[in-house]
Symmetry: C2
Subunit: 142 residues, 2 copies
DNA sequence: CAGAAACCATACCGATTTGGTAAGGATTCG
DNA sequence: CGAATCCTTACCAAATCGGTATGGTTTCTG
């Protein structure tokens, strides 16, 4: 369970796309400038998001990316797992359990598991449309 | 918010100490062997736990470590923060907020904050005495 | 059709963190 | 005394992170 800049940048990008869902494809360069994310790095993240089925790419001039599902059906967990892999405890994993000699009888493992579940619950219950609306409110009536 | 082997080893060590609270000081070597943690690495962790005021060290032969407070008054958060530093979001931090140009008006930041709070809640509400009892039950009546 | 705009793929790279190990010093019990 | 134990510092290999570089492929537009 680790959260890095990938998740941060990826979530910012997805919110950006959700806020402009009606404007047709949004290019990586545009997102990069608005969200202050290095452009080539962002491209890599979009590749991962596309492979996870969260966005569709439109190639060629005037191309860009579009959400592949309604924003209400995309959760933060979808985005985080697309970029960082499955959300699971980074400690007391299978390899560790093999050497600690307790055969699964480990009180510590339960704590890590609970913590992971708690994060997962937050991520699953937060959808992109909520965040997009929040962001629009935060930016104010301009 | 990152969890590494330090937290895992440290929690195992603290549970070990709690289970043997009545046996006087427990040496790092004993803990190392029981919990399958590299001995010299464990020594470093005990130093951090001591500096955080969680354990007391008894030097010299027959020395070792003892919990500095009742197990019921030591939370998992105490242990994790002693070893890994303050538990806070690793993304969208102050440095980032300075460049993203939103002046704090960022919907993404709220998600990371919620996730961190959720983990903190689990860690704060889990005390060492509970884990020690859990562990003794798991190990069975032998 | 030419070229620009955009996505796609792969490789590389410096800095930092992680998970230790090594070597020796200081303290206390027996 | 000498052994056990904690204490301190330094060092190190491997992995990860965040990002750059280079070039290719596709497609719109003039």
């Amino acid at each position: 369970m680790r959260l890095t800049a990938k998740s941060e940048y990826g979530l910012l990008a997805m919110i950006d796309l959700a806020c402009r869902a009606q404007d047709g494809p949004v290019s990586a360069r545009e997102v990069s400038e608005r969200q202050a994310v290095p452009p080539k790095y962002l491209e890599q993240l979009f590749v991962a998001l596309r492979k996870a089925g969260l966005v569709s790419a439109v190639r060629g001039a005037r191309g860009g990316f579009v959400l592949d599902r309604p924003a209400a059906e995309i959760t933060v967990l979808d985005i985080v797992e697309a970029l960082e892999g499955p959300l699971k405890p980074t400690v007391c994993d299978a390899e560790r359990a093999a050497v600690c000699g307790k055969g699964g009888a480990c009180a510590a493992a339960g704590v890590w598991d609970q913590a992971t579940r708690a994060v997962r619950e937050v991520f699953v219950s937060t959808t992109l449309d909520t965040l997009a609306r929040d962001q629009e409110v935060l930016e104010g009536p301009a």
